[in-house]
Every structure is written in C-alpha cells, then in structure tokens.
Amino acid sequence: MYRSHVLVCGGTGCTSSGSAKIIEKVKEEIKKNDLAEEVCVVQTGCHGLCSVGPIMIVYPEGTFYSMVKEEDVPEIVSEHLLKGRIVERLVYDQAKGMKSMAETDFYKKQHRIALRNCGVINPEDIEEYIGRDGYQALGKVLKEMTPDEVVKCILDSGLRGRGGGGFPTGRKWQLAMGNASDQKYVCCNADEGDPGAFMDRSVLEGDPHAVLEAMAIAGYVIGADQGYIYVRAEYPIAIERLKIAIAQAREYGLLGKNIFDTGFNFDIDIRLGAGAFVCGEETALMTSIEGNRGEPHPRPPFPAVKGLWEKPTILNNVETYANVPQIILNGAEWFASMGTEKSKGTKVFALGGKVNNVGLVEIPMGTTLREIVEEIGGGIPNGKKFKAAQTGGPSGGCISAENYDIPIDYDNLVAIGSMMGSGGLIVMDEDTCMVDIAKFFLEFTVDESCGKCTPCRVGTTRLLELLNKITEGKATMEDLDKIEELASYMKQNALCALGQTAANPVLSTLKNFRDEYIAHIVDKKCPAGVCKSLLTYSIDPEKCKGCRLCAKNCPADAITGERKEPHTIDPNKCVKCGVCMTKCKFDAVVKK
C-alpha cells in the first residue's frame, strides 16, 4: 500500500513538453528521500489539458500541478510528499483553492466515457485496467449474452460511428453478422488523418485495452476470430502501448484461444499506416491492409458483405470502440440518456487553434459551441473576437458566430454545412482569413487525393487554382459561380467521401463569409491581413521617428528616407515580408 500516488501525464502533448524526464526525476528524488515504499509514481495517458503540460497530479489530495519543470521536482517531493505542504505556485491557476480538478472550468462540463481511463490508469499495466472493470464487459458478453442481444444493446444505445460518418454502429454489426462466411474480420480504424484531431491517439495511449476488449466483443457478435488495428506510423507511443497491451492480454488469456473457457477465439494484429489520408476511408483502409496502394473502390459491395480479402468485415473507429464496454456494462438506456434525440452519448473534441485551453474535451452531444469555446476552452486569447470554428477537418466546414448557440450533434452540424468528422475543433479569431483557410484545406486534399477518380483528382486542383486567383486578387465574381458549379459536380461524382466532401471547406466559408470573398475579388483587400498579394505596407509619418531601423532590415531595399525624417516604402519594391513591422519600435508601420 502506498500513501501517495504521483500521476504524471505520458500522452503525446506532455511527452513533447518533457514529461518523461520529469518522471525520471520524480523517481530519483523519491529514492533520495527514502520514500519509495510510500509513494508510487505512475505514468498515465492524456489528461486532456495539453496546453498547460506537463501535468502532474498528486493523490490522495488530487493536487493538480501544471507546467511542471524538471527543476521543480525536488521542491514538490520535499515539500508536498515529505512534509505534506502543497507547492502553491505550481498549482494550475484554475484549480487554486478548489478541492479537485473536476471543479475547474475545463473539466466541469465534461463527461468522460471514451476517455474515462485516460490520465487515471497506467496504460502499460493490464491489472490497472482490470481494476477499473476492464474485460468485465467481454466476460458478460461471452457468458451471458447472445450475439443478437449484444447487437440489440448497441442499437438501443444509439451509438453512432465516431470517425466521421455517424453510421449506427449496431446496424453495421448486424449487417456483418447476417452474412455467413468461413472467415470474417474486425478492423479498427486508428489512421487518424484529420490534421488537428488527436483523440484516437489519446485513447490508444491512455487506455488501449478498452479498444482491444471492444474488438473482441465485436468479433464474438459477427463471428470473427481475427482483428486488425490500422494505426498511423506517426504515432510511435500509441503503437508501443498497443503492442504491450496485446501481449499482456494474450498472457492473461483475454486474447487468443478459448477466451474465458467459452471456446471463443480472437486475436488482434497491428498494421501500420504509411501516411495516406485516403486510408481513413473504409475500402481504402482494407486495400491498404492487403498490402496495396490504398485506393478506395465503389460501394456496394459494402465491407459487411465483401471487405478485407473479400470476407465480411466490420470497421469502427477507436473512439467508437472505447464506448462499447461501458455500454455493455451500464446498459443501453444509460448511454441513450445522454445527448440529443438522434445523437446519443458523448463526443471527444480536439480543441485547438485560437483558444486558451487547448486539449481534448469529452462532452455530451448537444453542448453548444459557445459552451465549448467560452467555458471549457476559456475563451480566445488576447481579447480577440470569435470568428469561426472549423469542424470535420478537410471534409467539414466553418461554423460562424451566428451558429454559436446551436447544440452540436451529427445532424445539426450537417444542417449548417459542416460535419462532425472525427472531432477536430479549431477555433479562429478575427486574424484568420477564411479564404486562406479554405485554400489550406484544398491544398491538403490536392495532396492527399489518391488520383483514382477524375472528379477528385482534377476537381480539387481546379478548385485550388480558383482559390489562388482569389487570394492573388485576380478573380472575378463569375469565379464564385464556377466554384459552386464545380463543387456540386464533385459532390455528385467523386468515388469516395474524400472527393465528395473536398469542396465543403470552400462552400461553407463561401456561404458564411461571402463578404470576405467579395472583399478579395472586388476591393482587392484581405480584411484579416493574411493574403500577401493583397497587402500593402506603409509608414505612418506621424509616428515615424526616422530611426532607419526598418530600412536597415528591409531585404528588398524598399524603404527610403533621411535620418530623423519620416520614411516611405516603395510598393513596387516591397516583398511584403513584414520585417519592418516587427522591427519598428514605434508602431509606425501599417499593414492594410
């Protein structure tokens, strides 16, 4: 028995800010102070609040230390662990004077189901997962439930795919269950491709067994004995923890032959993705597991009929699986009691961009964007104004301030021209140019289009060219009509979801921020001051002291003027690099 537990976050965010060294240092200091018998150090998964990492939580007090540095460790050990005095200066601002982190703004409105074990258990120790009811759902399913009963439970819970499409999970399982075959497969999509979403990574890093358990349950339901997890090679920590988890589960007889003495066999292998966004599409993912170029193919036949190696296959995303054991244990009604009419349960969002609290948040469906940004996210830095939030990544759209109070669920997001996607939620303030953001996503899809079908391969390229014309101030109003026409053609004709949704970022910004497009085209101005070709730099003669600092630093020799006289910028020579603006000590350089 330990009298204290020190939990240090070992998720990607905190590891990047140096948590591994902190763990070593804590262990070293504990040894030095002869506390090894009394204090236990645990490396956990992600706590969610990545922006104040590395995070350390000391129990039983539940003290929430943030931005801990290596040199702070001796003080924490000698003061807190040895003398019982909390090191106030390191306590997370919001948590000061409170009993627990659950009361802080960031956590107050959250409800953690998929993330319930992240940041709580040591993901590299199966015993800790079992201690939190782990593998009980699998036992219950194998011993007490028929496959039909499990499917009914998942259907009744209203769980929908968390990877983007929102297809009812129970329905997917039911379809694969009904197709007789000598061999079936269960796949897990961990090829999290949306740039800006990292919840699947956190689940794999913080609670890998939940995914393994759910896959085994799915295997029992559809009659499969083999599972594959397709995970991005860019996620080394997640891969490592998955490997450890699979090995431990095999050792405990929770994967492999004759699980729980019921005669049920199920094993899981890992396949690494190799950096192709299109492999998040289900048919492309399976083609990739087979060892080919990850190109999608037309549906039908659906994977539930002919999937991996032409056998019935189900594919669910990591977060979807993470919900399954809890639904089995707590019942469909419990899960269905949360959320909105057609979107049940919770959703994890990766909150990022121009917001104070960057990190992972899990909230009941139906929470408004305002609550997420203003309350959980702690608002926008530097007193700037909220302009838009982007959801759904390259397939989604931008939500404007007008829809700040709409309850977020699958159907509402589609209705306002965006989509749930895998859960990236990027906040933008007034300094973000919406045409530039649309262009950013188009550049992404041009890069990632697999090239198999023309509407996507050529369509995305032409669309990007049109956007480039706009940001360079060379477009006409007719180009906007062309964009809309091309977008609707792509939507109808592209082979897979990547191409069908590629125009969404353009269409949604065009719909919600048409004025900004018009300003680029008609007035040749970028209101946010982002699009270089449309900017002009000038010097305010009132403020300029003639110090020559800007002129000395100008790479293009575009600035002239006598010492102690106001300077001027020659617009024909100016390359718009902005150096003069950053160098000027008198705020005399103006960007318009």
Partner: protein, 164 residues
C-alpha cells in the same frame, strides 16, 4: 536551391541486405506482408531506393512495378535518403492557424532547401507533416524524435544550432 537528393549513390552494406532478407523470411506466408516489410526495410536503410525494392521484389515474388506503386503512394516511404537530422514541420490545422507556415518558410530560407530535400552536407532534411497530436504546443516541429513547440520564426536558428 541546391539539391543533392537525386545523385546520392546507393551505399547499402552486406549486413543491411542480410537483415532485410531475414525480415522478408519472417513474414513468409503472411497475407498483406508487403507494407510491414517496406516499413522495416526503410528502418534498415533509411529509405527505399530502387536497389532495395529489387531485393524485396525478388524475395517476395512481387513485381517491382507494384512495389514501386505502393512506395510512391504513401508519404511515409521515401525514395531518397533523409538527412542526419530529419525536420518535419507540422502543417496540421491547429498549427497552421497559429502560423506554422511561417516557421516552414523560415526553415526553407535558413537551410536553403525545399520540402522533401536534404542539405548538400547530408545534415538536415526538411518535410511537412500533418498533425503529430501535440496541438497544445502549436506551432510545432519535430527534429528526429524531439518535439519543439510554441515556435516563432525568430527561434528557428537557435534550435538548429543545437544540432550542429
């Protein structure tokens, strides 16, 4: 912009080839083994030049045309050697909104190379990547396995100096 990437001769050793043949033997009979073999081959050689693809083709009895198709499809596989220090700048949405493209421009300027290229001395190679999941530290870049976060264009040179 200078680029040596196309002219680096293949310098594979006997040991590397033995390692590769062992990897292929370990995957014998496994369905869909090509991707795992390519991943490990890249770990052994650092990249996947035609010579390596040929060995895999001979051993696995897969046409080299198909192997080349797979290698060029996925951004994780490289046909060219990488630098001693591989720099990848995150151009995911969260980093982009916080100005990672300016970091990327600055690196190209300082190193004098474009994306996907390697400095002539073989020290640094540069590429863009999409979201490494460290959005809390945006904008970020990775140099080999080290993550550098909360970057500004001004701090780029100081960071590079640590890798001399």
């Amino acid at each position: 912009m200078s680029s040596e990437k196309k002219f680096v001769p293949f310098q594979g050793t006997k040991e590397q080839e033995e390692q590769l043949r062992k990897v292929i033997a370990d995957h014998k009979g496994q369905r869909g083994a090509l991707m795992p073999v390519l991943q490990q081959a890249q770990e052994i050689y650092g990249y996947l030049p035609a010579e390596v693809q040929q060995i895999i083709s001979d051993e696995m009895k897969i046409p080299v045309s198909k192997i080349c198709g797979v290698v060029t499809f996925y951004s994780f596989y490289s046909l060219y050697p990488k630098g001693k220090y591989r720099i990848s700048v995150c151009l995911g949405t969260a980093c982009y909104v916080k100005g990672s493209n300016k970091i990327y421009d600055k690196l190209q300027e300082v190193l004098g190379i474009n994306s996907g290229e390697c400095t002539p001395d073989g020290k640094f190679s540069l590429e863009a990547c999409r979201c490494i999941g460290a959005c809390g530290l945006a904008p970020v870049m990775m140099i080999n396995d080290d993550v550098h976060g909360r970057l500004t264009p001004d701090c780029v040179e100081d960071i590079l100096a640590k890798y001399e």
